[in-house]
C-alpha cells in the first residue's frame, strides 16, 4: 500500500466552515441529519466569543441559526429575559442538545462570583449551570481560551478561582481555544457534529481540522524566519520571532484562514502572535511583547 504523506496545511484547506456547513445543511434537508438544539452559555469571561461568533461570514449568523442549529438559549441574543429566559434553559435540558460554553467557570465561594440567573428565588451560579447542562448535553464545546483552559479569567493569581469547563465536568469536552475563538472554528465544528459526528480530536480535545498545524508552520512571514531576517520592533514587516512571537508553539490556522472576512491576522498587523489559543495563555505566554 502506498504510504500517504500528510501535508499539515491540507486539513485547513479542506475544512472551511462553509463547506462543512453546506454539507451538514444538505443532510438536514434530505432528512439524513437533524437540526439539533444548542445552548450557548456565557459564563466567567468577556463574552467576546459570542461577539466573534456574530462576526461569522459564509456562513453568517442568520444562516447558522435558521439552517444549522436550533439555538434555544443565549444571553446576548435571546428575546426573553428573567425567569422566562431561564425556563428555556431548563426546558432544553430535557432534549438532545449541544452545549457551548463561552468563558471559564468561576469556583470561588461556591461559584458565587458569577451568577447567571435567579430561579424561584435561588441564585444559579455559572458553576451550577455548566454542571446542569454539561452532564446532559450530547456534546460540550468549550468556546474560546477561558472555557478551554481557564484563559485570562484564570490568570494569576486567579482571584475568582476560574477553571476550564473540562475541569468542572467529568466528561469529554471539545476544546475550541482562541481569544476569541474564530467563528469558523465554532461553526465548522458544529457542522461536523451535525453531518459527521465528532471530529478527530488531538490529545487536548481540539479538532485537528482547525488546530492541526502551528502558526509557525503556515506563517506568511516564514520566509523571513528561514532567512534569519527579524523585526526589531512592532510595526515592521519581517519575522516577529525575536519580539516574542508565540507562533512556533500556537496551534491554529490564523495565517491561512485570517480573521473578520478573512482580511488580516495579528502578525500581518506587524505584531507578534501572543499565543492566545494556547493552554497557558496568558501567564505562560508573557511578555506578549519582548523589548
Amino acid at each position: 500500500m502506498k504510504q500517504e504523506i500528510e501535508c499539515p496545511l491540507m486539513p485547513c484547506k479542506e475544512s472551511t466552515a462553509k463547506l462543512l456547513s453546506e454539507e451538514a445543511i444538505a443532510l438536514i434537508r434530505e432528512g439524513k441529519a437533524k437540526k439539533i438544539n444548542a445552548m450557548w452559555l456565557e459564563v466567567t469571561g468577556c463574552s467576546g466569543n459570542i461577539i466573534s461568533f456574530l462576526n461569522g461570514e459564509n456562513p453568517g449568523l442568520d444562516y447558522v441559526l435558521t439552517q444549522l442549529i436550533n439555538l434555544t438559549y443565549n444571553n446576548s441574543l435571546m428575546g426573553e429575559e428573567g425567569e422566562k429566559a431561564f425556563q428555556i434553559f431548563l426546558d432544553t435540558l430535557d432534549t438532545e442538545f449541544i452545549l457551548l460554553v463561552d468563558g471559564a467557570v468561576s469556583t470561588k465561594d461556591n461559584g458565587l462570583y458569577n451568577i447567571v440567573a435567579k430561579h424561584k428565588g435561588k441564585n444559579i451560579t455559572a458553576l451550577e449551570a455548566v454542571k446542569m447542562a454539561g452532564e446532559k448535553a450530547k456534546y460540550v464545546l468549550a468556546v474560546g481560551t477561558c472555557a478551554s483552559h481557564g484563559g485570562i479569567s484564570a490568570a494569576r493569581p486567579n482571584p475568582s478561582g476560574s477553571k476550564s469547563v473540562k475541569d468542572v465536568l467529568n466528561r469529554e469536552v471539545i476544546r475550541l481555544p482562541g481569544c476569541p475563538c474564530h467563528p469558523d472554528w465554532v461553526t465548522g465544528t458544529l457542522a461536523h457534529l451535525v453531518a459527521h459526528g465528532k471530529p478527530e480530536l488531538d490529545s487536548l480535545g481540539r479538532p485537528i481540522i482547525f488546530y492541526g498545524a502551528t502558526i509557525h508552520d503556515s506563517c506568511t512571514r516564514r520566509g523571513y524566519f528561514d532567512k534569519g531576517i527579524f523585526a526589531k520592533k512592532l510595526g515592521e514587516k519581517e519575522c516577529m520571532f525575536k519580539l516574542g512571537c508565540r507562533g512556533p508553539v500556537t496551534r491554529t490556522d490564523c495565517p491561512r484562514r485570517k480573521w473578520n472576512g478573512y482580511v488580516n491576522w495579528p502578525v500581518e498587523a506587524n505584531t507578534p502572535c501572543i499565543g492566545c489559543a494556547q493552554a497557558y495563555f496568558p501567564d505562560g505566554m508573557e511578555p506578549f511583547v519582548r523589548y
Partner: protein
C-alpha cells in the same frame, strides 16, 4: 401592598445583571441593580509587563475591547512620555471609530429592538413573549429586515477594524506610539468603502430609532435619571475643527463645567468588597477584599462619583455636554442619542480617512522606566473610561480601571444616593407587574456591560506609599 420584582438575567447585554424593584401598586418605589460577575483584572495585572496591559485589558470586554486598548495605550503613553504623530492618531481613531459602529449597531438592533419589535421566528430571538408590541405591520416588517441587515453591518465594522488592527475582538493594532499598521492605498480604500456602507446604514438606523420613538413616546418620560452628565472626550485632540466630535466636560443641572478628574472617587459601601477605606481615588493604592457575605451589599460594581454625584456617561452625555442634543434625559432620548452618534462618528471617520497620508507607522523600541505613573482618560462606546497605571521596577505596580458601566450601573453610595440606572428605575409605572417589560427597556438603554464593570479588586496587597492624584 408592595411587591418585589426580580429580573435575572437581564438578557441582551454583555455580562450578568439583575434588577430588583419594589413596586407599590404599579409604581416602582425602590430599585437596585446588581452586577453578578467578578474576575479581578486589577489584581491580575500586578507584576506584569506594562506594555502587555494593552492586549491584556482588551480582554476585560468582548464587545468593547478596543476601548480598553485605547485607554491602556493612553495611560502608558502618559507614563512613558510618548507622543504619537497626527497621522497615527487619525488611524487609531478610525480603529476606535469602527468599535463604536460595531457596538452601537449591535446594541440598537440586537439588544434593544427585540423589546419593541416582533422579530422573525428564529431561536433564540424568539420566543418574544411581550404583549407590548405597538408597530403597525409594515414598520414592524421594515425593522425586522433591518435587524438581519444589522448582523451584516456590525460584522463589517469589525472587518474594518481588522484591516487596520489584525483582528476583532481583541485587536493588535493599537499600541504605544500610535498604531502598528503601515497604511497603504489598498487598506485605506477598503476602510473607506466599509465606512461608506455603514454610514448609509446609519441613516436607516436613525430612521428606525425615530420610528420606535414615535410609537413608544411614553419612553421619553420613562427612565429619567439625574441631570448629571460626564465625558472625557473622544475624537477631540485635533487642531481641525471638522474632526472634533465630543470635548470633555461635565453637565450638572443644565450647567456645563470643565472636567476635573481629581473630583472622581469610587466607593464600596454597597459592593461586595471590604477595605479600611470605603472611598478612594482612582490610582490610589488601597487594598480591597471580596466579601460576598457583606451586609447590605448587593453587587460587584463599585460606585464611582464625581464631586459626590452619580454621573451618566455615554452617547446622550456626550451630545448634551457638547450642546448637540436639546431633548430630555429619558430612555428614548438615550436610544436616539446612540443612533445620532453612530451617524456622526461614521461622518467623522470619513473625514479622518481624507486626512490620512500613506506613510509608515512610527513604532519605537520602548524602554521601561523604573518608576512612572500614567492616566488614560477617553470616552468610548459606552462612555467615560479611565485607566490609571503605576509602574515600579519596570513592572505594573498598580492598575485601576473605572469603566463607563461602573458609572451608569453603580449601586448606592454611603450617602444613600441611588446609582444612575437605579434612579432611572425608581418612579417608573409598571403596567403589568407580572410582565415588567419597562424595567429591562430602561436598563438596556444605558447599554450596560457588566463584563466591564466588575473586573475590579485589589486584594491582599502589602501596604506601600499612598499616592494621591
Amino acid at each position: 401592598m408592595s411587591k418585589v420584582i426580580t429580573i435575572d438575567p437581564i438578557t441582551r447585554m454583555s455580562g450578568f445583571l439583575e434588577i430588583t424593584a419594589k413596586v407599590e401598586g404599579n409604581l416602582v418605589i425602590d430599585a437596585s441593580t446588581s452586577g453578578l460577575l467578578f474576575r479581578g483584572f486589577e489584581k491580575m495585572l500586578r507584576g506584569r509587563s506594562p506594555l502587555d496591559a494593552i492586549y491584556f485589558t482588551e480582554r476585560i470586554c468582548g464587545i468593547c475591547s478596543t476601548a480598553h486598548g485605547m485607554a491602556s495605550t493612553l495611560a502608558l503613553e502618559d507614563a512613558l512620555k510618548v507622543f504619537p504623530n497626527e497621522n497615527d492618531k487619525y488611524i487609531r481613531d478610525i480603529l476606535h471609530g469602527f468599535e463604536f459602529l460595531q457596538n452601537h449597531i449591535r446594541h440598537f438592533y440586537l439588544y434593544v429592538i427585540p423589546s419593541y419589535v416582533k422579530l422573525p421566528d428564529i431561536h433564540p430571538i424568539s420566543p418574544q413573549d411581550s404583549k407590548d408590541f405597538r408597530l403597525p405591520n409594515h414598520l414592524n416588517e421594515r425593522i425586522s429586515k433591518n435587524y438581519i441587515k444589522a448582523i451584516e453591518y456590525s460584522r463589517l465594522a469589525h472587518e474594518g477594524l481588522a484591516v487596520l488592527g489584525g483582528k476583532a475582538p481583541h485587536n493588535h493594532g493599537i499600541f504605544v506610539g500610535g498604531v502598528t499598521v503601515n497604511i497603504d492605498a489598498y487598506k485605506l480604500e477598503k476602510v473607506k468603502s466599509i465606512i461608506s456602507k455603514i454610514k448609509e446604514f446609519s441613516n436607516v438606523m436613525l430612521e428606525d430609532a425615530y420610528i420606535i420613538a414615535k410609537y413608544y413616546p411614553d419612553y421619553f418620560k420613562k427612565g429619567i435619571t439625574y441631570p448629571y452628565f460626564m465625558s472625557y472626550g473622544v475624537f477631540n485632540n485635533y487642531h481641525e475643527k471638522e474632526l472634533i466630535y465630543a470635548n470633555p466636560g461635565v453637565s450638572i443641572d443644565g450647567k456645563t463645567y470643565e472636567l476635573d478628574s481629581n473630583k472622581i472617587t469610587e466607593n464600596i459601601h454597597y459592593a461586595w468588597y471590604i477595605s479600611d477605606k470605603n472611598v478612594k481615588r482612582p490610582g490610589e493604592d488601597i487594598e480591597y477584599q471580596v466579601d460576598i457575605s457583606k451586609k447590605k451589599a448587593y453587587t460587584f460594581i463599585k460606585a464611582p462619583r464625581y464631586e459626590g454625584l452619580p454621573m451618566q456617561v455615554g452617547p446622550l452625555a456626550r451630545l448634551i455636554i457638547n450642546g448637540e442634543y436639546k431633548g430630555g434625559n429619558g430612555t428614548m432620548d438615550r436610544i436616539i442619542a446612540r443612533a445620532i452618534e453612530t451617524k456622526r462618528i461614521a461622518e467623522i471617520m470619513e473625514i479622518l480617512c481624507q486626512k490620512v497620508e500613506i506613510k509608515n507607522n512610527n513604532q519605537e523600541i520602548y524602554s521601561m522606566p523604573d518608576k512612572a505613573y500614567g492616566v488614560g482618560l477617553i470616552d468610548t462606546t459606552r462612555g467615560a473610561l479611565g485607566h490609571w497605571v503605576s509602574i515600579e521596577n519596570k513592572v505594573i505596580r498598580n492598575y485601576d480601571i473605572i469603566t463607563p458601566t461602573m458609572w451608569n450601573l453603580s449601586p448606592k453610595d454611603e450617602k444613600g444616593l441611588y446609582g444612575t440606572t437605579e434612579k432611572a428605575l425608581v418612579g417608573t409605572e409598571v403596567k403589568n407587574t407580572e410582565d415588567p417589560i419597562e424595567l429591562g427597556r430602561i436598563a438596556r438603554a444605558f447599554d450596560p456591560c457588566v463584563s466591564c464593570a466588575t473586573h475590579v479588586i485589589v486584594e491582599g496587597r502589602e501596604p506601600i506609599e499612598i499616592r494621591v492624584l
